[in-house]
């Protein structure tokens, strides 16, 4: 049964959780990815291994972590190791999905979390790469989660913190990044997006309930590829919302 009473954040979490139905391993960053991983584990994929950059591998996610280095990222986990081990595991090709956020994204999925404006005299200093560059470089498939706004979906990001497809087909490989890796999906509050195989540019896959293709285009600052068939995302089910609200984040830390 579908519900219409949900927030944009809840919608993004549910859509992201569905993307993890088949995943074996996922590198989980702070915020929405934590909730999506916890929801996916509870509803679809109890065997999902959540990996956190400072060393937590395979946590139960019974309690929602407040940060990527805190105890809940390895509570009842299989392994509590360190950052080199985790990042080297990704570098060896063992981590399938990586989740990322950003202040800006461009058509090739390059992400900016460093500065708005020039690096020497930024208009806004953002936190910096953190583990994002490593996740975007080393995991097989990355999924970006962000709000769909024109100022965020831009033709060129002010600073490429984390590599997407850089400037098009073959660019990652030419730069030396591991072959066969790159952006896979973008989850926003308006739509689910992917990438066109031939051009590596962002492509609309599905619009969320009540959202038109026009509205997605109005909120995108670059020419988005719109295929003939655009799917409609299923709204969050009553089951998804119940588990999210009562089991994943009962204290409403994030939702």
């Amino acid at each position: 049964m579908a519900s219409t009473d949900y927030s944009p954040t809840e919608l993004m979490i549910c859509i992201a959780a569905r993307l993890m139905k088949e995943a074996r391993t996922a590198f989980i960053g702070t915020g929405i990815p934590m909730l999506a991983a916890a929801l996916a584990k509870k509803l679809y994929n109890p065997d999902l291994i959540a990996i956190f950059e400072f060393g937590g591998i395979g946590a139960s996610l019974e309690d929602l972590p407040r940060a990527v280095g805190e105890a809940r990222t390895f509570y009842r986990a299989m392994v509590a190791t360190g950052i080199c081990d985790v990042m080297e595991t990704a570098q060896r090709g063992l981590i399938e999905y990586g989740f990322l956020g950003g202040a800006q994204i461009d058509p090739y999925g390059n992400l900016n979390t460093t500065v708005i404006g020039p690096h020497e005299k930024p208009k806004v200093r953002l936190p910096g790469s953190g583990g994002a560059n490593d996740v975007g470089s080393l995991c097989w498939r990355t999924i970006a989660i962000m709000k769909h706004e024109k100022k965020r979906f831009v033709e060129r990001v002010d600073f490429i913190t984390t590599p997407g497809y850089l400037d098009g087909p073959g660019a990652r490989e030419r730069a030396g990044l591991p072959a066969g890796t790159g952006p896979y999906r973008v989850v926003t509050d308006l739509a689910l997006l992917g990438y066109d195989e031939a051009t590596k540019r962002m492509m609309l896959l599905a619009t969320h309930p009540g959202v038109t293709v026009e509205r997605v285009l109005e909120n995108t600052g670059f020419a988005l590829i719109v295929p003939k068939e655009v799917a409609q995302s299923e709204p969050p089910s009553a089951d998804e919302l119940r588990v999210l609200r009562t089991e994943v984040d009962p204290q409403r830390l994030y939702i």
Binding site: T30, G31, F52, E53, F54, G55, G56, D63, R66, A67, V68, G69, E70, A71, T73, F74, Y75, A80, T81, G82, I83, C84, M87, Q91, N110, T114, V115, H119, E120, K121, P122, K123, V124, R125, L126, P127, G128, S129, G130, G131, A132, N133, D134, S137, L138, F159, I160, T161, T162, P163, L166, A171, R172, R174, A175, G176, L177, P178, L253, Y254
Partner: protein, 323 residues
Amino acid sequence: MEIIESGQKELLQPPDVEEFRRWMRENKSPALKDKVMDEREAVKRFVKDGDYIGVELYGTVRCPMSVIREIVRQGKKKLRLAGQGLLEIDFLVAAGLVEAMDITYVGYEVLGLSNILRRAAESGKVKLVEWSNAAMAWRFKAAAMGVPFIPVRSMLGTDTLKYSAAKVVKDPFTGIAVTLLPALILDVGIIHVHRADKYGNAQIDGISGFAFEMARASKRLIISTEELISTEEIQRYPERTIIPWFLVDAVVVAPFGSHPGEMCYCYERDQEHLLEFLKAAETEETTQQYLQKYVYGPKTHQEYLDLIGRDRLEALKRANKGR
């Protein structure tokens, strides 16, 4: 080796592996010496103006805050910093002690951006060189290995590399492009641990972040510990010694040393205090008021704990659900 690309930023702490070997030989001793001292003495003896400092923590977890507050009180100047943390960077930057940083991430995750770093960066007061989290940890790893650089597959093709001091070369064995990260040898490393003995043998519970690598990449090393334990206890579980005594220069006993951050299996982070700090961080004036009250005011770690209050600290302990 063919250099394909060079990061355009300054290498803030060029590695000298020969000098590092000599330092190790002359300054690190296997002698079993009692190294327990308070924050004041440890900072006075082992932190100098102009030092390049590394602090091992992640977010608000396992922060050596009692030592950081003492560095602020002693006003060590012109520091350069490995910016893979959070609270400690904001404290040192807010006190105007930092000249330059190798930065990966300074933010409060769910709690938002760091306004102190924003003001410093946007005014150009602190020089910033970009890296990724793995890159910083691997730079420590290279130093720990005693080699001048380490090849990795991060940072390629990005502005993170362009605004770093890394280089991209063609690997002579496979022909692929790899990033070379320069080893990062610290003048001083500061690490907070769960348990240590008086000689500096240290144990960490839970994830170990980059403590193993950073301890081995430090010329001088200050350990602060929640608890001082006997050497006999260390010897009963030698496999748990993540930092061996011969690397350590000072052992500072600091219960609740990570406050307002947390310590896994011991106490939770003080969310209320963090929010108070972040509110204060919004303006320069209130930031300085915060430092007055919580950093310059209390002269010792014990005075700081008294200011926070025993009841509150005990509540943070009770809130922790353990293993």
